[in-house]
């Protein structure tokens, strides 16, 4: 019975996807181009979705505070641009610097979350939201010198959208593209994403991973067995923050721009929605759910663009996208919560 219930969002999304596919066919838009695009969207957003897994699996709920990790990654990207590092070196530097900053941010974030167990989602949401103005201070005041990232007028403060064209735009997307007939598969991008997925999967086969899962499944029991719960929660939260930092690097190189200021504001929501479609709950999530959920959600987004253009109301794409995203999250709160019940057993 329970398994059947979990599938409902997936069923709805699949039906919606099918309807869109039929409409796209009727309008006469080449399906091959959409499939090619869907691979890129999948891996581009996949790492951000993957970043939710460690936190869910230490019982810290959905990471609505993702803007914190994203900000760390953005700092990494900005430093790489400031140093004018191009190509692979620039991208790797961005990820390494971003991850190092994410460790610090994640540590602070975990300090807050560990104080307020059971309320992580609401706290995370507001911690993420309030982190954005703090970062805005940083973006405005940081003494970077590279003119390509500063406001054209005045030359002070970073601009909201920094182009990566001269640095590492599409570094993963465009390298190692395998062409099979009309299909183009961005092997480097997908490989990078899958390696990260594999590493996370591997983590849950090690001892540390087992303990983490135990913590989320039954905190009381883990505590009695002598596990230092806060230590593992901290580890999980830091890992999530690091993955979010790497995720935004992957996202930005595909997107071609680094979005600062209010850019990361709502980024947590599509990611949470994706993992929920995959069938995760706020207590447990697997890498498989990440892969399925991200592909389904991103492809729906992708298909709705030509359909909306065909009916001459382009704004509808964004609105429909948000309705799907938020609708799925709301559904999950209503029918998959049950955290209280688990707590009492």
């Amino acid at each position: 019975m329970k398994n059947k219930k979990v599938q409902i969002p997936q069923i709805i999304i699949c039906i919606y996807l099918l309807i869109l596919l039929v409409v796209v066919n009727v309008i006469g838009i080449p399906i091959v181009g959409i499939i090619n695009e869907s691979f890129i969207k999948w891996a581009m957003n996949g790492v951000l979705v993957l970043s939710l897994v460690p936190m869910i699996n230490v019982g810290a709920g959905m990471n609505f505070g993702m803007p914190i990790g994203i900000s760390a990654g953005l700092i990494g990207l900005c430093i790489a641009i400031e140093l004018r590092l191009q190509g692979v070196i620039g991208f790797i530097t961005a990820m390494i610097v971003g991850s190092l900053i994410a460790i610090v941010f994640g540590l602070c974030y975990s300090k807050i979350l560990n104080r307020l167990k059971g309320k992580e989602e609401i706290i995370g949401t507001f911690a993420g939201f309030s982190f954005i103005p703090i970062m805005n201070f940083f973006w405005t005041l940081v003494p970077f010198k590279n003119r390509q990232m500063l406001y054209p007028v005045g030359g002070k403060g970073l601009r909201p959208k920094i182009s990566l064209k001269n640095y590492f735009e599409g570094i993963l997307d465009n390298s190692l593209v395998v062409k099979i007939g009309e299909f183009q598969i961005p092997v480097a991008l997908i490989l990078f994403f899958l390696i990260l997925c594999f590493l996370i999967q591997y983590l849950y086969r090690t001892r540390v991973g087992h303990v983490m899962t135990a913590v989320s499944e039954n905190e009381k029991f883990a505590q009695i067995s002598g596990v230092n719960i806060n230590k593992y929660r901290t580890k999980g939260i830091i890992l999530s923050t690091i993955l979010a930092a790497i995720g935004i690097c992957v996202y930005s190189q595909s997107y071609g721009f680094v979005e600062l200021y209010d850019g990361p504001f709502m980024m947590a929501f599509p990611a949470v929605s994706a993992i929920l479609i995959g069938g995760a709950s706020s207590k447990s999530a697997t890498v498989k759910q990440v892969l399925i959920g991200t592909y389904l959600l991103q492809t729906t987004y992708l298909l709705s663009i030509p359909v909306a253009n065909a009916i001459l109301v382009p704004e509808i794409t964004e609105v429909l996208r948000m309705i799907i995203t938020n609708g799925i999250i709301l559904y999950a709160f209503l029918y998959k919560g049950g955290s209280k019940k688990y707590g009492k057993i």
Partner: protein, 346 residues
């Protein structure tokens, strides 16, 4: 000492406001007249948050939905071109009816998500905004035909970004005029807010008010004594939504212009922050907190961009500071309250 502890947060913000006023280098008259406008615009929203807190549901971030009901009512009024006092009262009537319906739906949803009301109400707010956008960006012109073509976009689908409601702005002109700062303002909106506050005070003392407080105190006990807890919680949300819709009508009346797609966006966050600044907690809030909070929070809101401009030659910094204050206050309140909760359990 314990008695004065709850005034710590308002005091802290009072000091911040004074620093802000000095830093901005503006006259007291300017602050007062701005404050009047902001009090009139935001007062009722903050009062609307009180009853859900009493019912133990935390902050109702879904007051956005009430604001959307008000928008819908005003759009209907503008579409049919009913202006003046008649239009204003009709708008209040329509928005109240809509909010009762929507409030029941929200209450029903929140009853299914007990213990997660706050995050759920945030998501409800977002989702309602999206559905509302769908209705007015796409629905108008395709399914619904507008009578007044002035409110439509030239392409024939969707409404314009703003509707001129200057007719309503004149509504209170010349009634009970008082001098606030540099301008002459009407006392009527303030009286409406005070009446609403008294109404909430009356409700909290009435039979249903006692039930609401009982449910807020201990839901299991209340259920055991025979109170229909789900119904009580739903009523709390309905009252909150209705008040929020009235608040949004007051807000738009004061501005004289309806920005269809943006006017409601941050009211939930700012109202919540204002209430918490006033010394409220997630379990305990009263009308005094609401009034103190609105005045303090909005004083800071008025002066912080000016102070940023004046001190750092950068208006945006003040802007960032105030949005940080709004979100930061809420995080701070969570940390303080929930720690208190775990202490009291021991």
């Amino acid at each position: 000492m314990e008695k004065y502890k709850r005034y710590l947060v308002p005091l802290f913000f009072l000091v911040l406001s004074i620093i802000g006023i000095i830093g901005a280098g503006v006259s007291m008259n300017f602050v007062l007249s701005e404050l009047y406008a902001r009090f009139v615009r935001n007062g009722i929203f903050v009062i609307a948050l009180l009853i859900p807190i009493m019912a133990g549901m935390g902050i109702n971030f879904a007051i956005k939905v009430g604001a959307l009901a008000a928008h819908t009512a005003l759009i209907i009024i503008a579409d049919n071109q009913i202006y003046g006092l008649k239009g204003f009262l009709l708008a209040i009537l329509i928005s109240t009816v809509l909010s009762v319906i929507l409030g029941n739906i929200i209450g029903y949803i929140l009853n299914k998500a007990k213990g997660k009301e706050m995050i759920t109400s945030i998501v409800i707010g977002f989702l309602a905004t999206n559905l509302y956008q769908l209705l007015f960006m796409v629905g108008y012109g395709t399914i619904i035909k507008a009578k007044n073509s002035e409110i439509m976009l030239s392409r024939g689908i969707g409404l314009r970004n703003n509707i001129d409601l200057a007719e309503f702005k004149k509504l209170f002109d010349g009634i009970l005029t008082i001098r606030v700062g540099d301008t002459n303002e009407s006392l009527a909106p303030v009286i409406i807010i005070v009446v609403v506050a008294l109404l909430v005070y009356y409700i909290s003392g009435s039979r249903i008010g006692h039930h609401i407080k009982a449910v807020g105190g201990n839901i299991n006990t209340s259920q055991a004594v025979g109170i229909d807890t789900n119904r009580v919680r739903r009523i709390a949300i309905v009252i909150s939504t209705v008040l929020a819709s009235l608040g949004q009508i007051m807000y738009i009346q004061n501005i004289g212009m309806l920005n269809i797609y943006t006017d409601h966006l941050n009211i939930d966050i700012f109202s919540a922050a204002a209430l918490l600044v006033g010394g409220a907690t997630l379990k305990n809030a009263n009308i005094r907190n609401a009034f103190i909070g609105v005045l303090l929070f909005h004083t800071l809101f008025i002066v912080s961009p000016l102070a940023g401009q004046n001190l750092f030659k950068h208006a945006a910094l003040g802007e960032y500071f105030r949005s940080f204050l709004a979100y930061g206050t809420i995080v701070f309140a969570f940390i303080m309250n929930l720690r208190y909760e775990s202490e009291s359990k021991l």
